[in-house]
Symmetry: C2
Subunit: 431 residues, 2 copies
C-alpha cells in the first residue's frame, strides 16, 4: 500500500512546476521532506535545488548520493552552478567542473568570486549579443538558428569587436523595425548598465525606477560580462525586506522546522543583549532606591515614561531609516528634518503628557507627581527622537546599515535615561 | 540671474527620465517642489504624475491650473487615468473622459471599480491579441504594422472569436518559430492567468514563484480583460514591505516634508494607544503597592521581566507572521509548531533567567528575590510566546492581516501579566 501511495505522489510531483515542488519541500519537516525529495524525478532535481531556500537546500543535498548530485548539477549553467557550489561537496564541484567548456569554467570562477550582495553574484551569462553593423534581417536569422532564447530576453546586446557594449536592441524594436536597417541605426544608446561590484540593492532600485526586465553588466573597460534579470531582482527585493523584518526582532532566517538547537543559537544572543540593557536600566533606577521607597507610586509610573519614549523614538527612527534607504536625506535638508521631528515630538509629547499626568494624579492623588510625570515624559520623548535621528544617520555616514542594532540602542537610551530623568526630577522636586 | 538659473534647471530637467524627475520632486520641501514642478516640461507632466508617490502627487496637482491638468491627462491610457482619477478635480476627469473612445471609457470605469489591493486595480489594457488560426508570419506582419509594442510585452495573447483566452505566445517563440506554422500549434496552453478580483499580493507571489514578466487577466467567463506586468508587481512588493515596516511603528506612509499637522494625526493615535496600555500595566502593578513598599528592589526588577517577555514573544510572533505570509502553516503542522516554540522559549528562558537571577541577587542580596525573578521571567516569556503564536494565527483565521495590531497586544500582555506574575509571586513567597 505504502508503495502504491508513493507512486501516486510521484506522479503528482512530476506534473508540478519546480517552484511548486520547492514550496512543498519547504513546508515539510525534515524527515518527510527528505522522503518526498526521493520521489521527485531526477530531471527536476537541479531546478528544485535552485528554487529552494538555503536552509532547505542543505537537507536535500544531504539526502543525495554523490552520483545523483553530479547528475543533477552537470546540466546547470555556470551562474547557477556558482549559486549552488557553496552548498555542494567540493569533490562534486570538481567533478562537474571537468565537464564545462573553458569559457564556462572562467564564468564559474568569476561568478563565485563576487561578494554575496553584489550584482556579480546575481548576474547570469545567458545573453544574446550582436554586432552593430549587421542588419535586422541577419539578427532575426541568427535568433531563429538559436531555436530558443534565454529566459527574460527582452533586449539583445550590441557589442563591438572587443566585446565592448555599444547599446541595446529591444525585441519589440527588432520585431517592428525595418528588416533592411542596420542594428546601429535602431539600437538605443541610452541604456542603463551595471557594474559587477554594484550592490544588488542599488541594482534593484534601478530596476524599480526604470521598469527594467533585464540590464547589461559591464566591466570597467566597458566590456559586456553578463546581465541581470528581473527575476533575480524580485528575489533581492523580497529577501531584503524579510531580512529587515527578522533583524528587527534580532533574528536571522530560520526554518519553522529548523532543529531547536539552531533556533536557540539564532535567538538567544538578542534576548541576552536585551537582558543586559534592561539590567543596566534597572541598575540606573536602583540608584534612586531612596526616592522610590518614599514615594512608591513612582515605581509604577517610571515604566510608562520609558515605554512612551521608546515608542516615540521608534516612529522617528522608522521614518529616518526609510528616508535614508530611499536616498532622501541630503546635507541640505538634514537640519530642517531634525527641526521637524523635534517639533512633532514636542507637540505630541505635550498632548500625551497631559493624559499621562492625569493618570499619575489618579493613582497618586498628588499634583507635584503629575507635573514631574509630564516633564519627564516630554524630555524622554525628546531623548527618543534624538537617538532615532542620530543613530541611523551616523551609522549611514560611516557606511553601515542604518537599521542594524539601532533599535537596541534606542530602547537602551529611552529606558535608562527615562528612569534617570523621571526619578531624578522626582528626587529634586518631590523629596 | 534668477531667470537664467531657472532656464538652466529647466534644461537639466528636460534631459531626465520622468522617474528621476519624480525622485527629485519627492526629495524637496513643498514650496521648492512646486517651484521646480513649474519648470518641468509639459510633455513630462503626465509621466511624472504617474511616477510620484501619492502624497507628492496631491501637492503637484494643487499647483497646476485646470487647463494644464487637462492637457497632461488627456494623453493617458485608461488604466493610467484610473490611477490618477481619485486625486484629480472631478471636472477635469469629466473633461478628459469626453476625449476617450467608447472602449476606453468602459475600461476606465472598469479599472476604477476594482478595490485598491486587487489585480483589477493594477492591470492595464495594453495587450496584443491574436487569433489562434493565424500563421506566425501574419502575426509578425501585424506586429510590424503596430510600429511600437506596449512596454513589457514578453508574450502576446491568443483569443477566440468571443475574446476567450486560449493561450499565450511568447515573443521568443514567435521569433524563433517557423513562419508557416499556425499560432495554435506553437502557443503554450499552460499559462498562469489572474482574475481581476485576486489580491495583488497573491499575484505578486505568483510572479515571484514562476518568474513572470506579464500575466493575462481573465474574467469569470474566461474572456481576456487585461494584463498585469512585472513593473506593477515590483511596486506592490515594495509597497507591501514598506507598509509593514511603517505599521509596526504605528504609522502610515508619511512624507518627510509633510506638514507637521499631518504627521501629528499620523503618529499620535499609536502613542496614545501605547500610553493606555502602559497605564493599564502600571495600574496592575500599583495593586501590589504594599509588596513593593516592603521590598523596593522589586520596582527595579519588574521592568526587566516585562521587557524580556515582550522581546521573546516578538521573536516568535515575527516567525509566525512570516510563516503565515508564505502559506507555510497548515492545520497539519500547527501543533508541532506550537510545541517547538514553547520548547525553544523554555530553553532560552532557563538560560537567560539564570543571568537575570544573578543580577537580581547582586542588587538585592536576597536569594528568594533571585528565585522569584527566575520563575517570573520564564513564565512571562511563555506568556509572550503564547500571544506571539495565538494572536497572528487567530487574526489570520478570521481573515484579518496577522501583523496589524499584534505587537500592541503583545506588549500589553507581557507588560501587564509580567508585572502581575512577578509581583504576585513576590507577594506569595517573599512577604
Amino acid at each position: 500500500v505504502q508503495r502504491q501511495h508513493e507512486s501516486e505522489i510521484k506522479a503528482l510531483l512530476d506534473d508540478l512546476h519546480p517552484a511548486d515542488i520547492a514550496f512543498i519541500l519547504e513546508s515539510l519537516p525534515k524527515t518527510e521532506r527528505q522522503a518526498v525529495w526521493q520521489l521527485v524525478g531526477t530531471e527536476h532535481d537541479a531546478d528544485v535545488l535552485l528554487e529552494v531556500d538555503d536552509w532547505v537546500r542543505e537537507s536535500l543535498i544531504e539526502a543525495m548520493d554523490r552520483q545523483d548530485l553530479v547528475a543533477a548539477t552537470e546540466t546547470l549553467d555556470a551562474d547557477e552552478l556558482a549559486d549552488l557550489a557553496p552548498d555542494l561537496p567540493p569533490d562534486v564541484v570538481a567533478e562537474v567542473q571537468k565537464g564545462l567548456t573553458e569559457d564556462e569554467r572562467a564564468q564559474l570562477i568569476e561568478a563565485m568570486g563576487y561578494p554575496e550582495d553584489s550584482v556579480g553574484a546575481i548576474m547570469d551569462f545567458d545573453m544574446v549579443r550582436v554586432r552593430e553593423d549587421t542588419t535586422l534581417k541577419a539578427v532575426l536569422r541568427y535568433l531563429r538558428r538559436m531555436r530558443e532564447l534565454p529566459d527574460h530576453t527582452d533586449q539583445i546586446f550590441v557589442v563591438d569587436r572587443q566585446g565592448r557594449l555599444q547599446g541595446t536592441l529591444s525585441l519589440s524594436r527588432l520585431l517592428v523595425g525595418d528588416l533592411k536597417s542596420k542594428v546601429q541605426d535602431v539600437l538605443s544608446p541610452d541604456y542603463l548598465s551595471l557594474s559587477p561590484l554594484d550592490s544588488d540593492a542599488d541594482a534593484a532600485r534601478a530596476f524599480e525606477r526604470y521598469d527594467l526586465v533585464s540590464a547589461p553588466v559591464v566591466d570597467d573597460q566597458g566590456r559586456l560580462v553578463g546581465r541581470v534579470t528581473i527575476s533575480e531582482v524580485v528575489d533581492v527585493i523580497r529577501e531584503d525586506s524579510e531580512e529587515q523584518a527578522l533583524s528587527r526582532a534580532g533574528m536571522q532566517e530560520e526554518d519553522i522546522f529548523a532543529p531547536v538547537g539552531m533556533a536557540l543559537r539564532n535567538r538567544a544572543p538578542w534576548l541576552f543583549l536585551n537582558l543586559c540593557t534592561a539590567a543596566t536600566a534597572a541598575f540606573v533606577a536602583s540608584q534612586f532606591e531612596d526616592t522610590v521607597s518614599h514615594i512608591v507610586v513612582l515605581a509604577f509610573l517610571m515604566s510608562i515614561v520609558a515605554g512612551i519614549g521608546g515608542n516615540s523614538g521608534n516612529q522617528t527612527m522608522t521614518m529616518i531609516i526609510r528616508a535614508l534607504a530611499m536616498g532622501r536625506i541630503t546635507g541640505h535638508n538634514v537640519w530642517q528634518l531634525v527641526k521637524r521631528e523635534m517639533t512633532i515630538t514636542v507637540l505630541v509629547g505635550l498632548c500625551g503628557s497631559v493624559g499621562a499626568a492625569l493618570f499619575a494624579w489618579l493613582i497618586s492623588r498628588s499634583i507635584p507627581v503629575a507635573l514631574v510625570m509630564m516633564a519627564a515624559m516630554v524630555c524622554n520623548m525628546l531623548v527618543g527622537t534624538t537617538i532615532g535621528v542620530l543613530v541611523p544617520m551616523l551609522r549611514a555616514r560611516f557606511g553601515k546599515d542604518p537599521a542594524m542594532g539601532s533599535s537596541v540602542l534606542l530602547t537602551f537610551a529611552t529606558d535608562s535615561l527615562g528612569f534617570f530623568i523621571f526619578l531624578g526630577l522626582a528626587t529634586l522636586f518631590l523629596l
